[in-house]
Amino acid sequence: MTEARTLDVSHLRPWEISSQAPLWWGQLFIDFIEGTMFSILIASYFYVRLRVDVWPPPGDQFPHTLLPSLALIPLILSAAGSYWASEAAKKNSRAGMIGGLLLNLVLAGAALAMRLIEWHSINFNWKADALGSYTWAFLGLHTFDYIADLVFTIVLFVIIVSGRYGEKERLGVHVDSVVWYFIVGIWIPIYIVVYWCPYIVETAQ
């Protein structure tokens, strides 16, 4: 028997901050799950919507669209902060990560504040009727994700500022940007459904 052939991998580096990292893929699949969840909720909304003539149901105001539309501006720009931070993570630039994460946090915080202010103008809650249940399910679930990722971005920010970080945490910054792109991206259809569908969708005849 001859000597087994070997494949030496010692020259490969023991970490990777890109879409080649398993963690990046894992996060992508978690986004698939959440995206499916929101898609089913949107489909359910239309199922219910198209079976009634009067929408919004009696007593429910039409949504205010100005503030949520304005809030899109800081929200979408906050993704640029995430991108900046994730590129800086690849290059191991601490200043870039701090700047990017800070931009992300400030803009995302502003968009969240606008969202919470806007909630006061909604004159029904989830107990009112089906529209109330769906509206608050969309807002509640998305805001839950939103706040959860803000908290983790704050934790990452603190870790990076403290300087007590390595490749794993840099990969964390990179993958955190994937989470944020998803949260921003999925908000667009939810925003349209919650704030515009009561105006533009008519009952099927």
Binding site: T2, R13, E16, W25, I33, T36, S44, L131, G132, G166
Partner: protein, 634 residues
């Protein structure tokens, strides 16, 4: 059968390497250590053992039902108790046995078959198991406190709503769903990432073992199907606990919507259970006929097609709800379509058996049993896809017979074969073949005796979910026969357990590769070391162990002083970088406890969602907090 052989005869083993690996991959000690295990073999085995316990529980529930139905006007169980038992039986078998059992085998086998050391996210893997266990205990806590769900395993509204199911029965059911689905989704995400990125070098897509393909397809189906049932169960739960109106028609909700969302999950669920079983069949057929499975590409493509089509036929569960005719026609066609892709697979296995050199082992017996029973179940499936016939037998025992033929034939028989096939890998000892064949025949006869009469009972008009029937109906003799069959089936189960316990102690020593099989798990020791392989193998062919030893290739240069694995590229599996897996950790367990407080508490008081979220957040920060060394040495 060839004698057990060492399949790595020509790799220079280095004592120091092995000592390092043993030390780095050792399980932590004590109870805290036991709660911190993250190796895939340990977690996979926990899933398998726990799921088996729930198989026994579901089996006992089935026997109780069959005892009640053995005679007309029987009073062994009252109507309420009977409702609880058939609901708990269905729920247990689907959510606490079938899916977790398949996940458990996947967690155990996939990293071995891919030639790696662990799944991509070992701590998520541990977390998923604890979520499953918590959900299972939560449901059975209800069962033992006289609050078992009693509205069917599908919990249709409005029956499961606050008006018709007061108390906590439906809430326990709905929240158990959330627990087990979180678990299944964790497993799905980590298995796909592992299959995509941790394959043995050169295991390109067209060299992935068919079982791994099956788990990949199943995992993708979990990603897209399980969110639907979480939405469905959340509709019920929030309507019941915080007075929303998702399925309440009085306030604009829609009870039929619940059925759509539930079956958008429920139909793929069947495939989530039996596609891994098709993978078992491929692995067993190839090893026990000593040839590669005929039509690899056709096999993979038809399983992928199965996965897609499964999402397009949920409405055939709802033909009796008065749908538009065009919808019925569409879903009839799509339901018939699944017979094509399933037929391709059956054809490939039969062709393999025909042209191979089959050894009539117990595992292969179960494959033959699978083909016979599953094809029969498929036939009745094609019948049920037709709307007029479906309307006639809807909610009768004909449907009960159909899905037990599909699920027991399609999933449990291959699963039994899988136990006989991989038991030597998991324990180091072979199961007894004589008892095994006895086991097979008792199960096969018991199964057919139990479920075949149900076809006739259904055609004679016996409805499902009735706790008793009058003697004039004429259903007595066949029911009696089915009950006798059920007890024979139970004896078959007892023989299996006896064989497991006997073989674990006295079975023949297996060696690494007792079946002379071709996939990489047989290159590891039996049972495998925590690190699986001293040197990670490369896949030089689709059947890497049927390549002559002198032509095999092994990976060197991974560090053995930390839990390091090799990451390869998605398509061609070229080595890309090394990846350090985390050490064992208590955080997954603590996080599962925090989530459990939130989930379980929210059934009683919605504020627990908030407290649970805060606790979970704290645990997750602990989980992800930087650990030393911060910078990895190359």
């Amino acid at each position: 059968m060839k004698p057990a052989q060492d399949v790595l005869p020509n790799v220079p083993t280095c004592e120091q390497d092995i000592a390092d690996l043993e030390r780095v991959w050792r399980h932590p000690r004590g109870i805290g250590g036991w709660l911190s295990y993250t190796t895939h073999q340990a977690i996979g085995m926990r899933y398998i053992v726990t799921a088996f316990v729930f198989l026994l529980a579901g089996g006992i529930e089935a026997l109780l039902m069959r005892t009640q139905l053995a005679l007309p006007n029987n009073t062994f169980l009252g109507p309420d108790r009977y409702n609880e038992i058939f609901t708990t039986h269905g729920t247990t078998m689907m959510f606490l046995f079938a899916v977790p059992m398949m996940e458990g085998f996947g967690i155990y086998l996939v990293p071995l078959m891919l030639g790696t050391r662990n799944v991509a996210f070992p701590r998520l893997n541990a977390f998923g198991y604890w979520m499953y266990l918590a959900g299972a205990l939560f449901l059975y806590w209800g069962v033992f406190t006289n609050a078992a769900p009693d509205m069917g395993w599908f919990a249709y509204t409005p029956l499961s709503g606050p008006q018709f199911t007061p108390g906590k029965r439906a809430d326990y059911w709905a929240q158990m769903i959330t627990f087990t689905e979180v678990s299944a989704m964790c497993v799905a995400a980590e298995l796909i990432a592992t299959i995509f990125k941790q394959r043995a070098p050169r295991m390109s897509l067209n060299r992935i073992p068919l079982y791994v393909w099956a788990m990949l397809i199943q995992s993708f189906m979990v990603l897209f199907a399980m969110p639907a049932v979480m939405i469905a169960s959340s509709f019920i739960l929030s309507d019941r606990t915080v007075a929303t109106h998702f399925v309440n028609p009085a306030e604009g909700g829609d009870p039929l919507l619940y059925q759509h969302v539930f079956w958008f999950f429920g139909h793929p669920e069947v495939y989530i259970i039996f596609i891994p079983a098709l993978g078992f069949v491929s692995a067993i057929v190839s090893a026990h006929t000593r040839r590669e499975v005929f039509g690899y590409t056709a096999m993979v493509l038809s399983q992928i097609a199965n996965g897609f089509i499964a999402f397009g036929l949920w409405v055939h569960h709802m033909f009796a709800t008065g749908l538009p005719q065009i919808g019925e026609a569409y879903f009839t066609a799509s339901s018939l379509m699944i017979a094509i892709t399933s037929g391709v697979q059956i054809f490939c296995w039969i062709a393999t058996l025909w042209t191979g050199r089959p050894r009539f082992t117990t595992a292969l017996h179960f494959v033959y049993g699978f083909i016979a029973i599953f094809v029969l179940g498929g036939m009745t499936g094609v019948m049920l896809a037709s709307v007029p016939l479906d309307l006639q037998v809807h909610d009768t025992f004909f449907v009960v017979a159909h899905f037990h033929y599909v699920l027991i034939g399609g999933a449990v028989f291959p699963l039994m074969g899988a136990f006989y096939h991989w038991f030597p890998k998991m324990t180091g000892r072979l199961m007894d073949e004589f008892i095994g064949k006895l086991n097979f025949w008792v199960l096969f006869i018991g199964f057919n005796l139990t479920f075949f009469p149900m076809h006739i009972l259904g055609l004679k008009g016996m409805p499902r979910r009735i706790y008793t029937y009058p003697p004039e109906a004429g259903w007595g003799p066949l029911n009696h026969l089915a009950t006798i069959g059920a007890f024979i089936l139970a004896i078959g189960g007892a023989i299996f357990l006896a064989n497991v316990f006997w073989s674990r102690k006295y079975g023949r020593i297996a060696g690494n590769n007792p079946w002379d099989a071709d996939s990489l798990e047989w290159a590891a020791a039996s049972p495998p070391a925590n690190y699986n392989f001293e040197y990670l193998p490369a896949a030089t062919s689709r059947s890497p162990l049927w390549v002559p030893p002198e032509d095999r290739t092994f990976v060197t240069g991974l560090r053995n002083d930390r839990r390091e694995v090799l990451v390869t590229t998605l398509m061609d599996a070229e080595p890309h970088h090394r990846y350090v897996l985390p050490p064992p950790s208590i955080w997954p367990f603590l996080t599962a406890v925090a989530v459990t407080i939130g989930f379980a508490g929210s059934v009683f008081n919605a504020w627990y969602v908030t407290w649970g979220s805060i606790l979970t957040g704290i645990c997750l920060i602990g989980w992800f907090w930087p650990r030393r060394p911060l910078e990895l040495e190359p």
